[in-house]
């Protein structure tokens, strides 16, 4: 269990509270900037420079490089913000979710009631 899970006591869940928000502020600020198309282009042109510009620390940069969404969540990234990074990179909600569950996308889709409704 992470520190955040200990505080809230809900397994497999990272409640986005002020402590986690503070931890992930740089990630979320960077992701928020990607709502603008010109920033999405800048990001894709030089990911490292873009991350440095927003002050991500080494752990956060590594999680972004590895597209490790679970790690990014543990480091304070909020899904609503990093979905904009996903949109920039072409990673949709379902692959991101499957990765956080530790499953393949195919296995995750088998757990859904109507997998065609995407």
């Amino acid at each position: 269990m992470s520190d955040n899970q200990d505080r809230w006591g809900i397994p497999g869940t990272y409640v986005f509270d002020l402590r986690l928000s503070r931890r992930g502020y740089a990630i979320n600020k960077m992701c928020h900037s990607l709502r603008l198309a010109e920033n999405r282009d800048l990001y894709l042109a030089d990911e490292e420079a873009y991350m440095t510009r927003f002050g991500l620390d080494d752990e956060q940069k590594q999680a972004v490089r590895e597209r490790d969404w679970l790690r990014l969540t543990q480091l304070g990234g909020n899904l609503f913000f990093f979905l904009k990074l996903g949109a920039t990179l072409g990673h949709g909600l379902y692959p991101i979710g499957a990765q956080m569950r530790g499953e393949s996308l195919e296995d995750f889709m088998k757990t859904r009631n109507v997998p065609g409704a995407t």
Binding site: Y14, H32, R35, A37, L70, T73, F80, L83, A87, L93
Partner: protein, 287 residues
Amino acid sequence: MAKIVAGIGSSHVPSIGRAYDQQKQTDPAWQPLFDGYEPVKRWLAEEVKADVVILVYNDHGTEFFLDRYPTFALGVADQYRVADEGYGRRPLPDFPGDADFSEHLANALVADEFDLTLCQEMELDHGFLTAMPLLWAHDEDQWPVKVVPLLTNVIQHPIPSGRRCYKLGQAIRRAVESYPEDLRVVVVGTGGLSHQLNGERFGWINEAWDREWLQRIQDEPEALADLSHKEVMTAAGAEGGEMIMWLTMRGAMAPQVREVHQFYYAPMTTGIGLLALEDDAGAQDAG
């Protein structure tokens, strides 16, 4: 005098917007959803005939950033733009506001001790957008209703209690009923139902909880208003915690309500709920 003529609870899910924009209304996976909204859309057009919609929603990292995050924010403008959430702007018309009515709401609610952030500009993301075209027909550049967006912080804790949201709804009712113009007002509470989008528990849905919620919010909203965030999030998923925004809608309705329509569908990662309510006039007369 203005009055509240309907209360709607509706989920907001980005994939519904995509399906709508891609015209998947008859796609087998999506048809149940669109068919489920149809009776309410018809009822709103033919009987309710609203002038203004107060829509309670949350932003998703689009218009509001964490540098200064309001707990409640009310739109007070004449126009609200459709936002780009990262995928490009949805092909929906911008929304007309009613600045005079908003100003009245702002004055009344602040006087009633709800200290809202007031917004002259507000771009709207799927939290606001999802329900609108499912409930009101629009053409290329026009909506048949004016809107008042009411944002609630449900993404960064501490978020307001369910009780606070319910009381805000009650204050909205008082504010609406003190507006001299004969406006027909619909309050829409969006969000939920059960879903979780973070962590190893991603994809959590609790259909039994959702169906109970659709009933209990009619019959015993006060009991739901007393639930803690941890209780709601444990049962309904972390992001399911946003269901408290339905309590704002419910608080704006009479103590006794009549169900006009109820619909539930949980195809992928969210329990999608729709509930249409009106005041139970008979019960009020009897009381």
